[in-house]
Symmetry: C2
Subunit: 344 residues, 2 copies
DNA sequence: CTGTTAGCGCATTCAC
DNA sequence: GTGAATGCGCTAACAG
């Protein structure tokens, strides 16, 4: 495969009979070019099939238009949707997206990814990794030193940092209030792993809403997001609370486990047991019964991260005026069969 | 936020009392540097926290280490896993990954993405988009003109092109043969949209295996990958074939629809109806009953794409010696409850 | 409005 | 082994 020598701005300039500078102006849509000159240059560009070398442009101008995205657990629905939202909005804003996936979450791997992005001269970074409370310090420490605009997703607010999150606590409140309105009285919770900030927030929202009781802890089971753990959670909660009549389950996969465990035990949903999940994965609509669940606007969150990051990059948004409220996206409740008792 | 002036190779050279070339040599692990000099330079690099500017390196050397990945439908399990496989292997091989997502599949959008990648000087491209037969021509035409190593995923073999696929046909054969071995006699199929090559291949594998019959077409229902269409497919197939006793369903989501339709109609799985799905999504293990399904090694496919692309880039693998067999990854059957009748 | 000069940070020649 | 010159393709700052 013989490569045609790449055509450069110089070739275009020669062919058009102008200087490279003029071509550069046309490429960058500068106003100070005579309309005819512009036309001529543009037609030459088209004829030659010229495409500017972004690498050279970046080196010369001292800035890239690449944002680095650090992702995690793409095989899950939420993270994949966040990434989709990021990419779409980035493309719209003219940014390229460089992707790095993290699976180990220690200093070595974090530094490696960040070093790579810095070497690539990314103009901003989106840290699309769930907040694990056990490594919060580590991330803060490393990113503090960074002098690149950075958006952190789904973790507790940090002073002077751009953090964007789904309002998990409010989502949990919505779920529990709905169950209460449906007449359920003893509402348990299956949480995610407590090392996840999101899991903690959902638990907090539940706790706020169910009210006080001396035996609240008996209503809590810590799962690990898997279907299996939902199944276990069902068994454990019922053993501890024979009069349990509803469960707020912190994600949809675990809800599936609960549904199946309930079926196995001859419990009717929603008559004997009300269930609300979290995520609104596409399948949840087709669980049996259809699952009431909290919809996370994950895609919107990703898009918003790009918008804010862009504002930071253009110095139109500073850490000093960060207001948590505007960087919280609010989930909403999708009511389906699993939590609605028939009128009798 | 005051930016420290970026430190360059020059700063390192000055601080170490050597020339920039020597630093460059150390950076690139060239052999022709005195051990002591190397040590000195390395310690200076560490002290200053210097990180090489990859942009400058790329311009100077005339090659990047960036591969462009064009993706589609990340919110689905398969594509997300493929992307994960690509990223992991790319990182291992020292490539950066630039990601672009396509949702519209017309000439304009395709060209836009490709133009962007070329401008970014990517050294190779992975086209991780399902083969839609209605736009096969378009892609071929556009990529033919491209003089960049390129891997195409999950589409029909093209002469002189690097194409990597899951062996969908073999996957379907495995599924149908298994059903036959379990004693099922009348095996229908719910396909994906026939505009997808993967759907066609699964259909072909089914057809090869079920044997001849004059009324084969009555055993086929075209779905659209959604749970809903699985439900519809169940109804349609049973109306057309009262003696149907098994269905090969072309993905797991549709299988869920079938399972629920069967439950609703009082049909027992696997006693009255055997089901085999395709994909092996994590939930399929917890469907009720647990779903027998064809596991796609999607992650492996992504990794293999990087390996082959790397070989092409290094000219160790040429289009002339492409052998389809070695670029087909073979799925395997995960046998669970939904297709295994108890011995009586 | 347009051209000239300079330099981005690094790697690739070649000298020494 | 090491250093000096040169240029990658482009844009910024000036001059005209």
């Amino acid at each position: 495969m013989i490569k045609k020598a790449k055509i450069t701005i110089k070739d275009v300039a020669n062919a058009a009979g102008v200087s490279t500078q003029t071509v550069s102006r046309v490429l960058n849509n500068r106003p100070d070019v005579a309309p005819e000159t512009r036309e001529t240059v543009q037609s030459v560009i088209r004829e030659l099939g010229y495409a500017p070398n972004i690498i050279a442009r970046s080196l010369s101008s001292g800035r890239t238009n690449t944002i680095g995205v650090v992702g995690f657990g793409l095989e899950y629905y939420g993270p994949a949707k966040v990434l989709t939202g990021i990419e779409k909005k980035a493309a719209e804003y003219g940014y390229s997206v460089m992707l790095a996936l993290l699976d180990k979450y220690d200093q070595e791997h974090i530094e490696k990814v960040l070093t790579q992005f810095i070497a690539q001269q990314v103009i901003g970074i989106i840290w699309a990794i769930p907040g694990f409370t056990d490594s919060m310090e580590l991330v803060a420490q490393i990113t503090d030193a960074l002098e690149i605009p950075m958006a952190l997703l789904n973790r507790p607010p940090v002073k002077k940092k751009l953090v964007l999150s789904v309002d998990n606590r409010e989502g949990a409140r919505l779920a529990v209030r709905h169950l209460q309105e449906q007449g359920y009285q003893h509402i348990g919770i299956i949480t995610g792993p407590m090392s996840w900030w999101e899991a903690q927030e959902r638990l907090a929202g539940w706790r706020e809403t169910v009210g006080k009781s001396s035996n609240l802890h008996k209503l809590v089971f810590e799962g690990d997001w898997t279907v299996e753990s939902g199944d276990c959670g069902f068994e454990a909660l019922f053993n501890a609370n024979p009069n349990l009549d509803a469960i707020f389950v912190s994600n949809d996969q675990m809800s599936l486990g609960v549904i199946q465990a309930a079926n196995r035990n001859g419990l009717k949903i929603p008559e004997n047991l009300g269930i609300v999940g979290f995520d609104n994965v596409p399948e949840s609509k087709f669980y049996f019964p259809a699952l009431t669940t909290v919809h996370q606007p994950a895609r919107h969150l990703g898009g918003l991260a790009v918008i804010r990051l862009d504002q930071c990059i253009r110095h139109e948004y500073s850490e000093d005026c960060i207001n948590d409220g505007e960087n919280m996206v609010v989930p909403d409740l999708i009511v389906r069969r699993s939590s609605v008792r028939e009128e009798s």
